[in-house]
């Protein structure tokens, strides 16, 4: 749900304003709710609580619509027609339900053998992480690798495991572990999500990834529609409604493995000179302040936030922004034409769609502008606004600034921060300002790098034992996973971890205001490390206007 700026004020009080942590500012554009805390409250419920507490929250979109003086009739009618349309197109031939199949019956079954054979096929074997999504009736919806049609047997087993634990033990299945593999189960509404991972991610981190995958589905359908479909037809084959969304989930999974933004629950901003960001923001403000039902105007580039202008009272949760990043990165079509698309932002309002005008600023600038409104037929006024904004940006030289940052112009201090800070012992770092949920790391991703990772991933996802010569940025982030999970461990949290071995020295440090992870050379002396961190924080403070968004502009 959307949170009001009141929350932000409460969060800020922990840090007196005269002693702001680097990057902290009096008002945040993002809702800095900690995803780990949310996870804790969500996962602590017992089976009974979970069944009772399925959401009946009020709709934020409805709230906005009534505020700007419209009745909600139109939207609700629209929603109703839309979902009934979908249901009519549904195929009538449903295969038999596997829901109540007995576990022991399946052992040694014919179908079971076939399934086993397929699971051993090269498409599926030796993968670092599998993700399966199925309906609570056991129907396959998504598999990261292979063809989910052939995985009906496996999905039947997963569904049976989940339901045996629920029905016969009155309990909730959470995870299964072997020495090298973790299976994590998440039941969300009418869906069952499973991750099978041989990576070093913790159970909590895997559950968060599954929650993201669920949110990605919600973002295409809305939670209301998802629930309604399965209330009407338990056996429904959801893949009919999700065509295209598989690709989004594929990309999201890769994105989550690579980008520390997910590890930290924070958003990365494109480093820009303060003036340039101000100009961009005011260009959007002045152009859009007459469009009264515009909720958010968001400009992004290369999975980084450039600016976000919002309707007063409403903030966005980092995870909603991550879904927008993913949508834009995964959709080539936005590059060629202005698009008008319904988007549900699950944390903002999971019950309904916002309507988005999505387009790239210009052919020579890879920044993408999203204008999100509650108005269903606002394409033309928004398109008009976009062109005005693009023109203003070009005139004020902002496009050049964005391009410089995106292409990592050598002259910018943020292009190669480690060189600019000048502490040779630091190999890598990442920093999160907690009150604004923004992060900065020593390796601002550039577009080509992300592309490279994606093509590499397409070939594989396989586990390979490679000889490490020089760690890539992704490897550093991988290393931080264990530290993150210890710092945020729900039962035995830590405030500071200093680990030194023959490979490297890592310092993980969390305070009320920030989280910091630094990798040093091996055998680093503690007092040197302390001094280096001190200098690092001073540098971040000095550059904070450039690397963070320090204002929370509204229309």
């Amino acid at each position: 749900m959307a949170s009001t700026s009141k929350d932000v004020a409460v969060n800020i009080q922990d840090n007196p304003p005269d002693d702001l942590e680097p990057g902290a500012c009096p008002e945040s554009i993002l809702n800095p709710t900690d995803s780990f805390e949310e996870f804790a409250s969500e996962m602590s419920s017992s089976l009974q609580e979970r069944n009772v507490s399925l959401p009946s929250k009020s709709s934020t979109i409805y709230e906005i619509q009534s505020e700007i003086g419209e009745t909600s009739k139109e939207t609700s009618q629209m929603k109703a027609t839309k979902s009934s349309d979908d249901l009519q197109t549904k195929d009538e031939s449903m295969s038999a339900s596997t829901s109540n199949s007995n576990l022991t019956d399946q052992n040694g079954d014919d179908t079971d053998n076939e399934k086993d054979d397929y699971l051993q096929s090269p498409e599926l074997v030796n993968k670092e992480k599998h993700v399966f999504i199925l309906s609570s009736a056991g129907k396959p919806i998504y598999s990261r690798y292979g063809n989910e049609d052939k995985l009906a047997g496996l999905c039947g087993v997963i569904q049976a495991l989940v339901s045996v634990v629920e029905e016969q033990n009155q309990d909730i299945l959470r995870s299964i572990t072997t020495k090298d593999c973790k299976a994590v189960f998440l039941v969300k509404g009418p869906l069952i999500l499973v991750a099978l991972s041989k990576s070093n991610e913790s159970e909590t981190q895997l559950v968060l990834q599954l929650t993201y995958a669920f949110n990605q589905i919600v973002s295409v359908l809305t939670l209301t529609q998802l629930n309604r479909i399965f209330e009407q037809r338990r056996n429904y084959d959801l893949r009919r409604l999700l065509s295209g969304a598989e690709r989004l989930i594929d990309h999201l999974l890769i994105f989550m493995e690579k980008d520390p933004a997910f590890l930290l629950g924070a958003v990365r901003c494109l480093p820009l000179p303060e003036k340039a960001r101000e100009n961009i923001t005011s260009a959007i403000q002045t152009t859009c302040n007459k469009i009264r039902d515009l909720v958010f105007a968001i400009m992004i580039a290369g999975n980084q936030l450039i600016t976000l202008v919002r309707m007063k009272k409403y903030t966005l949760h980092p995870s909603d922004i991550h879904l927008l990043f993913n949508l834009v990165r995964s959709s080539e079509s936005f590059k060629t034409a202005e698009s008008w698309t319904p988007i549900c932002l699950p944390k903002f309002d999971s019950t309904g769609f916002l309507h988005g005008h999505v387009s790239y600023i210009s052919e020579d600038c890879q920044a993408c502008l999203l204008l999100l409104t509650v108005q269903r037929d606002a394409f033309f006024p928004l398109s008009q606004a976009k062109h005005t904004i693009a023109e203003k940006l070009r005139r004020s030289n902002c496009l050049v600034a964005i391009n410089d940052a995106l292409h990592r112009n050598e002259e910018l201090p943020t292009t190669n921060p480690l060189k600019h800070i000048g502490i040779p012992e630091i190999r890598h770092f990442m920093y999160k300002c907690k009150s604004t949920a923004q992060l900065f790391s020593s390796d601002p991703i550039s577009l080509d790098k992300l592309q490279d990772y994606r093509t590499r991933h397409k070939e594989g996802g396989d586990i390979t034992v490679k000889k490490i010569e020089r760690l890539s940025d992704i490897d550093y982030v991988r290393n931080y996973r264990e530290f993150c999970s210890q710092i945020h461990c729900t039962s035995t949290p830590a405030k500071l971890i200093f680990r030194s071995n023959s490979n490297d020295t890592v310092l993980a440090w969390v305070t009320n205001g920030f989280e910091l992870y630094v990798t040093f050379d091996p055998l680093m002396e503690k007092d040197h490390a302390i001094k280096a961190v001190d200098r690092l924080l001073k540098w971040i403070k000095k550059e904070e206007q450039r690397i963070f968004i320090m204002h929370a502009p509204t229309f």
Binding site: T104, Q106, N169, I172, I176, K179, S491, T492, R499, S502
Partner: protein, 451 residues
């Protein structure tokens, strides 16, 4: 103390190949605790575990280790192919700080402790009964019942570091005293070639070991946790017997050896001695004088004569009591020395994976519960201990918890050293310096990185 009886929800052993067809599910269950559980529940629980094992086998070549539900943890151990031991423990899925769940101190168990409990149960079974697969099908149910029922109900776990890291307490001796022990063992083995000395224990501390390390830990745990406490209780009860004990007696079999018939009561064990290449069967003979306990093995092929044992008794008795007094003097001196050292209020633990040597800071005062280690801290130590790769061959980790505990772990090859310091307003450097001082004072001559 953790109440094992309320923590353990159930404990069972199954082998799916024992009742392969439908309707034969009960035959797969070799043992089920608590035994009054209904047959349907037993079948259902075992069925779930079978399914979980099978499910994971499609994704991993490693055997299944744990299943976590909202309220319980199922811990799996497959000691022999097809034989699965499962311990179901009430450990909730953790989403809050341990202190916030309201779990009273000492009530929280680290999962690794429970896994070790399962492993120790099997090793004990293997030492005193043998391999599961060596039993014919019709016998295995009753063998398991006779062994595991008393075992599981008699287990006591203290929420202590010694349960998180299982090791052996060695007794440091000066050269002369140690030489006396060695001479005694050599002389005995020369005079009585059938008898092989496999361990020499003073109080609860090991002086001499003649077994392969993994068997040594099991035998040591049997002596220290089961046999000796009973024996000591007996000794305290019967004050009059004390005079007779000066010259020692056989305590295994527990009634002693007084005639030829008593020899039938000797227990057979499956052990691997230091110079054995495989596990063999031996008779286990244990002799005790004052606080010294000596264990012998006799090959099962040897024909036992009562005369042999009587003469052995006459030989060991006086010698052992003299050695025991020497060691006792040594211990007094040693205790005085450590008393001076133990001024440090910080707890430390030393562990060597090679010989399982385990040393910890002396308990300051057992009456003060506040000085026991907090479960959160124990759990952090358990995770450092479990993840050996993390520190590599040499390395150091310092973790600060929200309540101002600083936990330091150091690793150097197979050796580990942990220090727990509670200190407000300290910084990394100060903690590292303090740890170095403790390391130098307590572990003189043992290298740890960084110096």
């Amino acid at each position: 103390m953790i109440d094992v009886k309320t923590k353990i929800y159930s404990f069972f052993i199954f082998n799916s190949s024992f009742g392969p067809r439908e309707g034969e599910e009960l035959q797969r269950i070799l043992f089920y605790h608590p035994s009054q559980t209904s047959a349907d529940t037993q079948k259902m629980q075992v069925g779930l575990c079978e399914a979980v094992v099978k499910f994971m086998s499609t994704f991993s070549s490693e055997p299944c280790e744990a299943l976590q539900t909202q309220s319980k943890r199922y811990i799996f151990y497959q000691p022999e192919k097809g034989y699965w031991m499962v311990l179901v423990v009430r450990i909730p899925y953790t989403t809050k700080a341990l202190s916030a769940i309201g779990e009273s101190r000492g009530d929280v168990v680290d999962p690794s402790v429970m896994y070790d409990l399962l492993k120790s149960a099997y090793k004990m079974f293997r030492m005193f009964r043998g391999l599961f697969k060596d039993f014919p099908i019709e016998e295995i149910y009753s063998v398991c019942d006779q062994f595991f029922t008393p075992y599981i109900t008699s287990r006591n776990l203290t929420n202590d570091i010694s349960d998180v890291i299982q090791g052996i307490n060695y007794l440091p001796l000066d050269k002369n005293s140690f030489f006396k022990v060695l001479c005694f063992i050599d002389l005995l083995e020369v005079n009585y070639p059938h008898f092989k000395c496999i361990s020499f224990i003073y109080n609860e501390q090991l002086i001499w070991n003649g077994l392969a390390t993994h068997d040594m830990l099991t035998l040591y745990q049997y002596l220290v946790q089961t046999l000796l406490p009973r024996q000591v209780a007996k000794e305290i009860q019967g004050g009059a017997v004390a005079a007779a004990q000066r010259h020692g007696r056989f305590i295994h079999p527990p009634e002693g050896i007084h005639n030829q018939e008593d020899l039938q009561k000797l227990v057979k064990v499956h052990l691997m001695r230091e110079d054995d290449s495989e596990t063999k069967q031996y008779y286990l003979v244990i002799y005790r004088t004052l606080s010294a306990t000596v264990c012998f093995t006799v090959d099962v092929t040897v024909e036992l004569e009562f005369e042999m044992f009587r003469s052995l008794d006459a030989f060991i008795g006086p010698q052992l009591s003299s050695i025991a007094s020497t060691i006792s003097e040594q211990c007094t001196i040693h205790a005085l020395q450590t008393a001076q050292l133990a001024a440090s209020e910080h707890k430390f633990v030393y562990f060597n994976r090679l010989n399982l040597a385990f040393k910890t800071s002396p308990p300051p005062n057992k009456l003060h519960l506040s000085t026991t280690i907090k479960p959160e801290v124990l759990s952090i130590i358990a995770s450092i201990h479990a993840d050996k790769k993390n520190l590599g061959n040499y390395g150091e980790i310092i973790i600060k918890t929200p309540d101002e505990y600083w936990i330091t772990g150091k690793a150097s090859n197979e050796r580990e050293f942990y220090v727990i310091i509670q200190e407000k307003n300290a910084n990394l450097k100060e903690i590292a310096d303090e740890v170095r001082r403790i390391c130098e004072a307590q572990m003189k001559g043992i290298f740890f990185y960084p110096m």
